[in-house]
Symmetry: C2
Subunit: 204 residues, 2 copies
DNA sequence: GCGTAACCTTACGCACGAGTAGGTAAGGTG
DNA sequence: CACCTTACCTACTCGTGCGTAAGGTTACGC
């Protein structure tokens, strides 16, 4: 209204607004008009800078995903023991989600449920899953417990899914402490995985 | 076109079509016209029998949720050991999801991401979570390991989330065997939970 | 001080899709 | 056969929201 701001600043404001509105109403129910209004700008500006609704959504996805990845990468200590590595990663992950609940909702819920964007997200998740699967496999070979490659991937998928679910829960519970959530997850994953990796198997 | 069918039959056809279309496009992107077309009927019939789009979606939710609950309940043996109980429940669960992938997508992905229906689904999930939390707690007290009530709920949330994630994965992988998925989940959950319930705890 | 480029607006076209009005025909019941 | 109820349709209205055309305003280089 009063100030004419440079492009980069406006773009960030728009993305902030878009994440907020997408998070609140979902992709389809969110209107470009509302996003423009929340950003304090008129609609054609959004089209001029970020393109169509689809492109805007993908831009949100990418920004939030990048931030998440960076936050986790910054928290990891590459030389640590596997469990320490996992612990720091989880801590960074839940801390980030706790601090960016709207972003998480866009990233996880919306992107996942809109068939058009599911692929976009699936790729990112697949990379994470493979990283986790790699950790599991190296831990297993170190402990001299064999296993087929596909099993590690499926296991990793379950772990990542559990973390996502807890993160999703965290996003809806303002009062919950991210560190507490990370500790729960750590107990859940590691103590279980530890036993598994020592060769214990449950049978029907 | 050729046959005039009784109401109950048409209603089921419409629900089948609705689940299919909602699953394919998502709630908002799905059109009543397409649902009507897939059902082999005209649009006003859908409104006459199942009501508005929202009501139709809720009807889908309820039918699929009921079928799922019944399938799981039918698979459970009430007098069995906790792990046997869990195993049969999981097996029934994954078998059902494998056989009704469209239904699962409506139930889990769409209902969850549409803020308007999230509450509807959250209630159903909350009941399941409390059941699982109850099983965990009784298993823990039997093993004389204490724990705050909230911890069991959070743990249950993680387990349910892991199961949902695996089910979601199963829904997208036509070639995956439900029994195999259930076995993975069982190893994942029980071996971990078992250790946890014996009092083992991971610390930073 | 004046062009010009970047910023920003109002005001619309247009398509799509939810929901409805009003009418037709089939089959049962007296 | 007259009737009524139930199944079913075509053909609309109308709101909403994406995307755009065309024009105004500020900053900044020269």
């Amino acid at each position: 209204m009063l100030k004419r701001l440079p492009r980069v600043v406006r773009e960030q404001q728009m993305l902030d607004a878009a994440v907020q509105v997408f998070s609140k109403h979902g992709f389809h129910a969110a209107s470009m008009d509302e996003i423009a209004e929340v950003a304090g700008i008129s609609k054609p500006m959004v089209y001029a800078y970020l393109g169509t609704k689809d492109e805007l959504f993908v831009a949100c996805l990418h920004r939030e995903a990048t931030r998440l990845m960076e936050a986790v990468a910054a928290g990891v200590l590459p030389a640590a023991r596997p469990d320490e590595q996992l612990w720091h990663g989880l801590r960074a992950f839940f801390t980030f989600v706790g601090a960016h609940r709207d972003g998480w909702r866009v990233l996880y819920r919306q992107a996942r449920s809109e068939p058009h964007f599911a692929g976009e997200l699936a790729g990112m998740r697949a990379r994470i899953v493979e990283v986790v699967a790699g950790l599991l496999e190296s831990a297993a070979t170190a402990a001299e417990v064999p296993g087929r490659p596909g099993d590690f991937t499926a296991m990793a998928y379950a772990y990542v899914g559990a973390a996502e679910s807890l993160a999703d829960w965290l996003a809806d519970h303002e009062e919950e402490d991210p560190d507490h959530t990370a500790t729960r997850m750590m107990n859940f994953v590691w103590v279980g995985a530890d036993s598994l990796l020592q060769g214990r198997v449950w049978r029907a």
